[in-house]
């Protein structure tokens, strides 16, 4: 009896210790990632520049789209700012895969794997660091967008929805990037990461709404869950009379897509990590 109680208590302490270790390790990995961002701004710069460039160039080049009948907004920057944000977030997430490949190639990751660190922390830490970076990028994009003439149509909720979508896309991208990084363990994986994210993003309502599309893209975009995430992201930037305007029915599809795709991609990352260990 005493032995049983002792064992049980011992197990509970171990689990608690393990949890603490996971969080502590994840915390250290977040710290490492953020220090790297500060020390190597050139590596972070593309993540910041890409969404701004995307927003500026698309809203200028495709300005005339807003003249189409039933286009959801009369401000092109309102339409393309969420696209810039989504692209920046996706590549910020996928960028984790690039960092992972570098760490695998230079041996840093082997040292992490040899340490008594929880495997979950190797995924949770970098993902949380990406969230911090994506939040910073989002703030800069919102400011740049405002200066270019972007105006929310649902107040603070507009920003909240766009930020939620950005964080969701970065999580999906991170899980996918880490999973492919663990599987390929070299730069072959990087090409697949970029290509797959790029294709998935553009075969949705990234550029134009469903009612403007024609042909094959309309069918593909309607089935692509990223379309739901774009709907969520743009719900506070379209005209109040547009069917895509902020409402629960326009938000839940995006939240569901983020939830399901995030879980699937993170499971893929974890399983791929376990494959390395085995």
């Amino acid at each position: 009896m005493n032995t049983a109680t002792h064992t049980s208590t011992h197990t509970m302490i171990s689990e608690k210790d393990l949890h603490t270790t996971t969080m502590r390790s994840a915390g250290e990995l977040i710290k490492r990632s953020l220090i790297n961002t500060r020390r190597l701004p050139s590596a972070f710069f593309p993540t910041l520049a890409m969404p701004i460039f995307n927003m500026v160039s698309f809203s200028g080049t495709f300005f005339a789209l807003t003249k189409l009948p039933n286009f959801p907004t009369d401000r092109s920057v309102n339409w393309f700012m969420p696209l810039g944000l989504a692209m920046g977030s996706a590549f910020s997430g996928v960028g984790l895969g690039f960092s992972l490949i570098r760490d695998l190639e230079n041996g840093f990751y082997d040292r992490l794997r040899m340490s008594p660190t929880s495997r979950v922390s190797l995924i949770v830490g970098p993902v949380l660091a990406t969230w911090i970076r994506v939040t910073l990028v989002s703030v800069v994009v919102f400011i740049a967008g405002f200066l270019l003439g972007a105006r929310p149509t649902a107040g603070l909720l507009s920003y909240v929805c766009s930020l939620a979508a950005a964080l969701g896309i970065s999580t999906i991208g991170a899980g996918w990037g880490l999973g492919l990084g663990y599987r390929f363990q070299d730069m072959r994986g990087a090409a697949i990461m970029q290509l797959s994210i790029f294709l998935t993003m553009f075969m949705s309502t990234a550029q134009v709404p469903l009612n403007v599309m024609t042909g094959w893209l309309h069918t593909v975009a309607r089935l692509n869950p990223i379309t739901n995430i774009f709907r969520l992201s743009r719900s506070g930037w379209v005209n109040q009379t547009d069917p895509g305007y902020m409402s629960w029915s326009n938000a839940y599809g995006g939240l569901l897509a983020i939830g399901v795709l995030s879980v699937l991609s993170l499971i893929f990352a974890l399983q791929s990590l376990k494959n390395i260990d085995n």
Binding site: S57, G60, T61, F62, K67, L199
Partner: protein, 274 residues
């Protein structure tokens, strides 16, 4: 004695135009084969522009009725010139990166140690890019033609477009080769890719200048890429006219002459440092 003979031979060889041409052709063959033997490197510059063309056709198909949009049978017809320019730009970066790789791995130095024509090193490499540019142009035209990318100028227009594609490739390839010769780094050449991407998006490659407003319209008007695209587009939309052909051929030719001058200067500068 042997050394003197060798030096004299080298001088004689490099001064013979026939030998220089033969060496340039050999180097051109090498650079062409190199491109075709590495499909993983060159295929993206073919697949991505085609993907964007089909994506654009489905996304912007309804915009052709907007005020200011030129009269076209489909968005794909309008987009054809943009697709060619996009593919040729990206393909030229690959060619220039290969020149930088030659510098990095010492092949360039071995060529310099051999009695090889110096300009042949540059022109041989560019010839590969030009052939690839012409091939890409033909592939894009014939791949998009069945889907509505009509070329109003007919078969003569298609031939002129292929020549124009080759000249664009020469112009961009020479500019990128300058970067390769200046830096000797393939990473630096690849690093110019975002710059080309920015130039492409701030041009009339995907949408007509007439539909743009304000500063965007000004930037697109000043952007040389717009003029390269619009020359090609004139053949596609206006038919085989003297004005369209001249724009399609002369604009890239003028840029190519300037770019070749810059690249040649960079080559001389690199040779001096050896």
């Amino acid at each position: 004695m042997t050394s003197t003979t060798a030096v004299l031979s080298q001088t004689q060889v490099t001064r013979s135009p026939a030998t220089a041409v033969r060496q340039t052709v050999a180097l051109a063959k090498r650079s062409t084969l190199e491109l075709f033997r590495q499909p993983a490197i060159v295929l993206p510059s073919m697949i991505f522009p085609l993907f964007f063309a089909f994506l654009g056709n489905s996304s912007f198909g309804r915009t052709t009725s907007l005020p200011g949009f030129p009269k076209v049978s489909s968005y794909l017809q309008f987009q054809l010139a943009g697709t060619i320019t996009q593919g040729v730009l990206f393909g030229s970066v690959t060619g220039a990166a290969a020149l930088a790789t030659d510098i990095e791995n010492g092949f360039f130095d071995r060529l310099l140690a051999a009695p090889t024509s110096r300009t042949g090193i540059l022109f041989g490499r560019l010839a590969g890019s030009v052939l690839f540019g012409a091939l890409e142009t033909a592939v894009f035209i014939f791949a998009l033609l069945p889907f509505g990318a009509d070329v109003s100028a007919g078969i003569r227009g298609i031939m002129a477009m292929i020549v124009s594609g080759a000249l664009i490739s020469l112009a961009v390839g020479a500019l990128m080769s300058s970067v390769a010769l200046k830096t000797g780094s393939s990473e630096a050449v690849q690093g110019t890719f975002p710059l080309l991407f920015i130039l492409l998006f701030f041009s009339s490659a995907f949408f007509p200048r007439e539909t743009m407003t304000g500063v965007y319209k000004t930037i697109a008007g000043l952007n040389p890429i717009s003029h390269l695209v619009e020359g090609l587009r004139a053949l596609s939309l206006e038919g085989f006219t003297a004005s369209a052909t001249a724009r399609a051929i002369l604009v890239p030719l003028a840029i190519a002459i300037v770019a070749l001058f810059i690249a040649n200067r960079q080559l001389r500068s690199r040779l001096k440092s050896h």
